[in-house]
Point group: C5
Chain length 306, copies 5
């Protein structure tokens, strides 16, 4: 096994061999295999935003098989989706790419404090041949404690059964402002919480330079924590994830044109981020274009391109 | 086995042979057996609207055995009902028609945010010899997450025990307007959610051309999704159900006279819908008339009539 | 076995032999044994209204043994009570009369939306040698769904363990008016719900001619459902209980003097009701008088008196 | 075994030998052993009122061993306390006095509708060698149904595992007035509820002549239930506990000086009460004085003193 | 084994040998081993206050291994942290220092009545080789009863599996004022509650002379409980923890400069406190300085320095 992968696995000393093997599967698969970097294709937007908003721009994407194909052709490290989407392709593409079953999801048809529904289980992940479970928490929501407790139980079970645990840590809810959702202090805090809850891999949004919490602001200023550039902020988030001893990857953010996205990817790479998880920005393009785009992203992480 | 049925079963690659066999039972039974189309008789109105509103127009329908007889004589693919109604005939009509046990139901004697009560279990479905469980979700209700989580657990158990899962996905509740309950974006979204939650068969209402959600409206317009006719809207809903790789059937809607209903059936057929689930519009007619009516519907789906 | 009892047992084709045997025990016991009619003594008023209101009028009734004796001497089909009252006599009177353990009860010491507490279990019913469990639901309460779900679970367990299920279906709560609690549409609906939830025997209150729900009113009028006399209304309720294929019995109502009660019993009999469940109107009389009264009631059902 | 104890055990015909043996242990232990009367030392005030309010008046009582010693030296039938207090002495005093583990307790550091926290389990009671579990219910609280349901489950488990069940039935909460907490109708009702929930031994407060509930008032007046003296009221409460076939004991009430307390004890005895459970009025005195006081109380019950 | 440790273990007579052995591990480890005193390093601030506020002042502390090293080098009795932090070092430092897994934690990203989330389990503590579980309760919160019930269950399981139970008892919430959180009556009450819930070791904050509860005030004044100095207040808290038969340790408080902290430590020692649990005041210093500081604290407890 590659030295870098071995080094990363070394950070997970409390896990059993089954979980370590699945982490290795994620790290060794695809175009970035062995580099210690990851690019994951996540497709939960059908549940989260509805089918037309997600798939009408590229109608081939209505077919669940499309996303398996895209992730495989592009050489992603893994493909993550809710139960239904994985069920619809797990047999046909068995063994071709590591899968992550998202165990909770939110739709946008009702109002109220943000809270996802449980939509999958660890045993379903095993049944579908997954390498990992995925779980979303919303720090800042008044219902966060339920999410943390659910994650705790699912993560314990996943680890006992040899799976890896990927946590989407997305601050939102009545405890923080809209701007605060991507504030550097809040994103770093969200990464820390996910790690403390036992995540192997944490996904956060690229942070802005805004600081949400008054008590945090004083510390950032007094300690002169560098947060001026995105690379610096990524570095701070990675540091906040157990000083870089947990894998932190970043979502595509709101950037729209390719150049801007790639610019962001470079900043994530420069800040020591472990990779990206890119949904809409990839699968809403035609297949060939999407593959090309994802490979550009990967090449940045691989150091093959600036 | 018929090619079309074999093709459809192929979409359910993650299911075990027991569940596949029960899907085949549903698809191969009755007048539409082998066509890949389904007409199901559902009778939960006694619970949902009360006995007089449901059965007084055709007093023979107070007797639970009546509905077994109607479904069998008409040649429906299956008969779906709550626990009590199935208990009252499952032995007498054992093996004569595939049964679907509805595991939750709502009455109309109390107010508040819509939410069904759990009224059955997977083990009860097995005890009564059912081929599938049925479950209703109300996307748009502030209590939807509980419903999704309940369905998740029941669907996992049903699949493990070799049953199929039929989901009634009926948007309603404080998150959407009355008109929005049948809006095309909402119905397509509801179909997508049911599929993502692991449904094998999804039942929705025929959608109108109304678009409920602002964010969706932009996409429908920009992408010029055709939703002008019912057939187009049905096609969009079927597409939203994993690009047609999940079985989507439609409820009878509010149409009242036979001609209008049959017109609607033709549109569903033309849009690629997999069939209908028709309750009040059938069992509130005298037996012979109801049989005749249901067979007219089936003949449209079978392509035997325009 | 008696033909009528055999016929009634035939309605419960989905039940196992243990449950059928316990239904037979209820139908074959006492003065009405074999007639297909039942008179049951229920004594939960100590819990529901308090001891003085229940027992001070006939102080012998403070003693739990009194009710066993009354039910046995009068020749009732069964005696129903909460846990404590059954525990206090089940050993002494073991085998002398079928027992029904009421698994939930409400006191009148607190306010709020009506909801009973769970006060017993199926295993407790087995431990005490009962033939059936009893359970109360309040259709119309905003908490009804919890009651339905509780009943569902308990009924499934009871049936698996060979017990019969008796449901007290008493509409009340914020969803209906006070007058609506005994409205004919509501009582018929309540009977239907209990049957759909899997009850073998349903207890309702004698209905009035009031119609509570607007949507129901239209149907009663259009279909000219006869509800002018109590006998007609009883017939409609029995019809609403699976066209008479579930046992429906009636509570004593609010009638006070004996003549009025017996008049009501005759109407129930004439409408095809299966019997009565009479608490306060029996045990608040001196023993001999109570026995005589109950036997008068039974003789009406048995056709031995007008 | 003593005739009176044998008679009392006869009331508990539904219990298994293990539970009967533990009831016998309670009835046969200490100075009142064999008389059918009980004096129990309860010490949950540290949890309920805080340590200083409970133990500062007699600082020796901060030590959990003190209460074991007091109960043993005074010859009480049993000692009842929460988990921590029993854990701190159960080994040292193993076998010297029957123990009752209180399974729920309330502190006075927060506001809101009264509701105790679950603080112990049946298995903990077995681990500590207890003869019984203790449980508090608050009839009148809007949360009472949860308490009843918890008690139901714990009592079933305790009986299955051979323990006795002691219920503190203390009306309070938004359903009744402050004065109503000790009203004769409410206290009698509270005793009835505890018995119906399956208690072997019920503890209530000495009732006043106040009648809280309008519906009850009519009955007390019409039936002329004698409630003028404390002895009469105790007699009525005992009658309300299954006509005296359940053991009812009384708390110390608010009486402060010894003469008043002893006067109250005589009234309880004269009314047929089975004994007392005396906390603060005993352990807040110096040991020798407390022993003397408790023995005076016992002698009244034993008929050795007026 | 040391006499003092043997004496302390004697207070836990109800525990099994496994739990006693783990208590002995805590008491015998490190610089204070065998003295009966403890200094524990707790690091949950990353979860409770966020990473920058916690670790930016000493960036080495972002690395979870840092805290293991600090606790080991300083000779602490134990190191306590949430799941993630322990997972990240438990293998590397296996056997080098007793570990305490904190099973619940609160973040500061949302508002509302204080309540921690469950973030670990007893089995996780066993998996990571811990000697004890840690659990926080908030007496004064309207949600305290849930915390007590959770602790009850976890403590029962921990004791059955041979672990010790450490309870952080921190009054807060709508039931008490801000000043009341450290009031002497409240802190003593909080210690009592933790002991009654079965804690082996209790952590509280150093109390002030403020008295929060009116009913308590009367007793403190009447009984002249000495609470003028911190040492007196510590003595009262220790007395409130079963007359000193439970181990009570104190958090660092808000003192900021070293001299003030050490002054406080001396008062805790003089009042009979069993030690300290010091987080921010240690790990926010550079390693060498932190080690030195912690050893100064330990030397005070060991009697090696004034």
């Amino acid at each position: 096994m590659n030295e870098r992968v071995r080094e990363i696995l070394g950070w997970y000393g409390s896990d059993n061999p089954g979980t370590k093997a699945n982490l290795a599967r994620l790290l060794n698969h695809g175009r970035l295999g062995g580099t210690g970097k990851l690019v994951i294709l996540p497709v939960d937007q059908g549940f989260e935003h509805g089918p037309a908003r997600s798939f009408a721009p590229n109608a081939a994407a209505y077919d669940p098989r499309y996303h398996f194909q895209l992730a495989i052709q592009a050489g992603c490290n893994a493909y993550a989706a809710p139960l239904g989407f994985l069920e619809a392709g797990a047999a046909e593409f068995a063994g071709e790419i590591p899968l992550i079953l998202k165990l909770n999801n939110s739709d946008t048809l009702a109002k109220g404090e943000p809270a996802p529904a449980i939509t999958g289980s660890v045993d379903e992940a095993l049944r579908l041949g997954c390498a990992a479970i995925g779980f979303t928490i919303y720090p800042g929501s008044s219902l966060r404690n339920e999410m943390y407790a659910q994650l705790r139980g699912l993560a314990e079970e996943a680890k006992r059964k040899g799976l890896a645990v990927v946590v989407w840590s997305y601050p939102r809810g009545s405890g923080i402002s809209k701007e605060g959702e991507t504030a550097i202090d809040v994103v770093a805090y969200a990464a820390q919480i996910a790690c403390q809850l036992g995540a192997h891999i944490v996904k956060v949004k690229p942070p802005t330079a805004h600081i949400e919490q008054e008590a945090a602001k004083k510390v950032y200023e007094k300690q002169r924590v560098p947060i001026g550039t995105l690379a610096e902020r990524v570095r701070h988030v990675v540091q906040s994830a157990f000083d870089g001893r947990r894998i932190v990857i970043f979502s595509g953010g709101e950037a729209k044109d390719t150049a801007a996205i790639l610019e962001e990817i470079r900043a994530i790479r420069d800040g020591g981020g472990f990779g990206s998880i890119i949904g809409r920005n990839s699968f809403q393009r035609p297949l060939r274009e999407a593959v090309e785009f994802l490979q550009q992203v990967m090449d940045i992480y691989a150091g093959k391109s600036k």
